[in-house]
């Protein structure tokens, strides 16, 4: 299909040679995913063990199995420790190449155990999605020259798709008037209760005060954010990627300021994957470091 080729070319950049900087960047990016995976796992396991009591909202496989079985007896910790062992082995390429598949399955299980309390957070989605791409890439591309390109390309594909699908979801869910500033007023008031409840005090910041002072200003804020989501798919092409990434990061900062929702892992991952960092690394590394060659 003719229309697929430009997307494939943008994602995998077949005309560009693989460089030492690219290999090093790939491994550092994998380390970032590994660290956040371990961080999330132990946070979720700890919270599950001390707080989860009843399943309020079954997500994913929790629709088919009773995940409350994992609330006690340190079973959530057992899953977290298993993820730690398998992911570290996968990172160092010790043992079979399906370790990341075990990691993503256990990671999904731990997510639905931890977040069975009613809230559906999304700030961990990019880490999970990246792990999935690593799992698939390592199994289907045992040739390590091609594998990093496939993994980074597929992650970029699903990040771009996610933003654009969020734009479409708003269009279908509400319609063209989604960007009406009064909607932002409602969200700001809702999130102000979350902050008041979390901290015991709440004061609107400058941007919130500005949005609440005028429906026009609030509408412009929403419209800019919505447009930025729409162009998410342009991440698929390397020439547009840095510009889109910058807009997406600005959008996330805007969401944090207006609605007090933080996307730390999301934003760090965008910063890592949205810019051609390998070009800087190539200046300092003329050969791929030995530890990267061993673990690629």
């Amino acid at each position: 299909m003719n229309w697929v080729y430009p997307i494939a070319k943008g994602l995998f950049e077949p005309d560009r040679d693989i460089s030492p900087g690219e290999n090093l960047f790939f491994k550092l990016f994998e380390l970032f995913i590994l660290c956040y995976t371990i961080k999330f796992c132990f946070e979720w396991a700890h919270y599950t063990q001390i707080r989860n009591v009843d399943v309020v909202l079954p997500l994913g496989v929790a629709n088919y199995i009773d995940v409350s079985l994992f609330f006690d007896n340190y079973l959530s910790y057992l899953i977290a420790v298993s993820i730690l062992l398998f992911s570290v082995m996968a990172f160092f390429r010790k043992g079979p190449n399906w370790h990341y598949i075990v990691v993503i399955l256990l990671f999904h299980l731990l997510y639905v155990i931890r977040f069975s309390q009613g809230e559906i957070p999304h700030s961990q989605n990019l880490i999970g999605l990246s792990l999935l791409c690593f799992a698939v890439g390592l199994v289907w591309y045992p040739d390590n020259k091609t594998m990093p390109r496939f993994i980074i390309g597929s992650i970029l594909f699903f990040i771009g798709l996610g933003y654009t699908s969020a734009f479409i979801a708003k269009l279908i869910g509400t319609g063209f008037h989604w960007f009406d500033g009064r909607h932002l007023w409602l969200w700001i008031s809702e999130k102000s209760i979350d902050i008041l409840s979390r901290e015991g005090v709440y004061q609107p910041n400058f941007l919130q005060s500005l949005a609440l002072s005028s429906v026009g200003v609030a509408s412009i804020i929403l419209l800019i954010g919505w447009f930025t989501e729409f162009i998410g798919f342009t991440l698929w092409w390397p020439k547009l990627r840095p510009f889109t990434t910058t807009l997406l990061i600005a959008m996330h900062i805007g969401i944090t300021l207006t609605m007090n929702i933080r996307f730390d892992a999301f934003v760090i991952q965008l910063i890592l994957i949205g810019y051609p960092w390998y070009k800087i690394l190539d200046i300092y590394f003329k050969e791929t470091p030995a530890w990267v060659v061993k673990t690629l």
């Binding site: 697929v4 995998f12 909202l57 994913g60 999970g128 496939f150 209760i193 409840s197 015991g200």
Partner: protein
């Protein structure tokens, strides 16, 4: 990357994409880590959250009254300081329609039975909406009183407020 690898790469992405579409289509848009990111897709709807208020010093007649956020005289308890995830708590309270004994006692467990001696904490739903004059109105609806390891329902509300439907 060779042409054949380019094609196989897109085929694999295509297969993952189909799995993505199938799982989110059959699970209300969410099958982690797949998501269509539907948050904020339905704009303009009234919302319900929850909070905990220190009502120790309130008179009995004030205790259970529905009141606006602006009229609030009781201090909000910081859930972060209690080690409770505020979003979880809010969803637990706002999305529970059938307050069974297990669910009710889960609130005590959530706070680890740590309401200080001689203190009274009120668990309240907080509802917000846009009124006809384009103003945001936020109202506090007292739901449960926590004190001395006990939990008491709002006597001004009948059973229908606690058992909206069977789950």
């Amino acid at each position: 990357m060779k042409q054949t690898e380019l094609k196989s790469g897109m085929k694999i992405i295509g297969v993952i994409f189909l799995v993505f579409v199938f799982t989110v289509a059959t699970h209300d848009g969410e099958f982690w880590p797949f998501s269509i990111f539907p948050m904020f897709s339905k704009a303009g709807n009234p919302w319900t959250r929850a909070m905990v208020l220190d009502v120790t010093n309130l008179e009995n007649e004030e205790l259970w009254k529905i009141h606006s956020l602006n009229e609030r005289s009781a201090a909000a308890i910081s859930l972060r300081k209690q080690g409770v995830d505020q979003i979880d708590f809010s969803n637990f309270v706002s999305k529970t329609n059938h307050w069974s004994e297990t669910r009710t006692n889960a609130l005590l467990t959530m706070f680890d039975n740590e309401v200080p001696q001689e203190r009274q904490w009120m668990i309240a739903k907080v509802r917000g909406e846009l009124d006809q004059e384009d103003l945001i109105t936020v109202q506090i609806h007292p739901l449960f009183l926590l004190s001395n390891d006990r939990i008491i329902r709002n006597p001004l509300l009948d059973d229908s407020h606690y058992f909206l439907r069977e789950e």
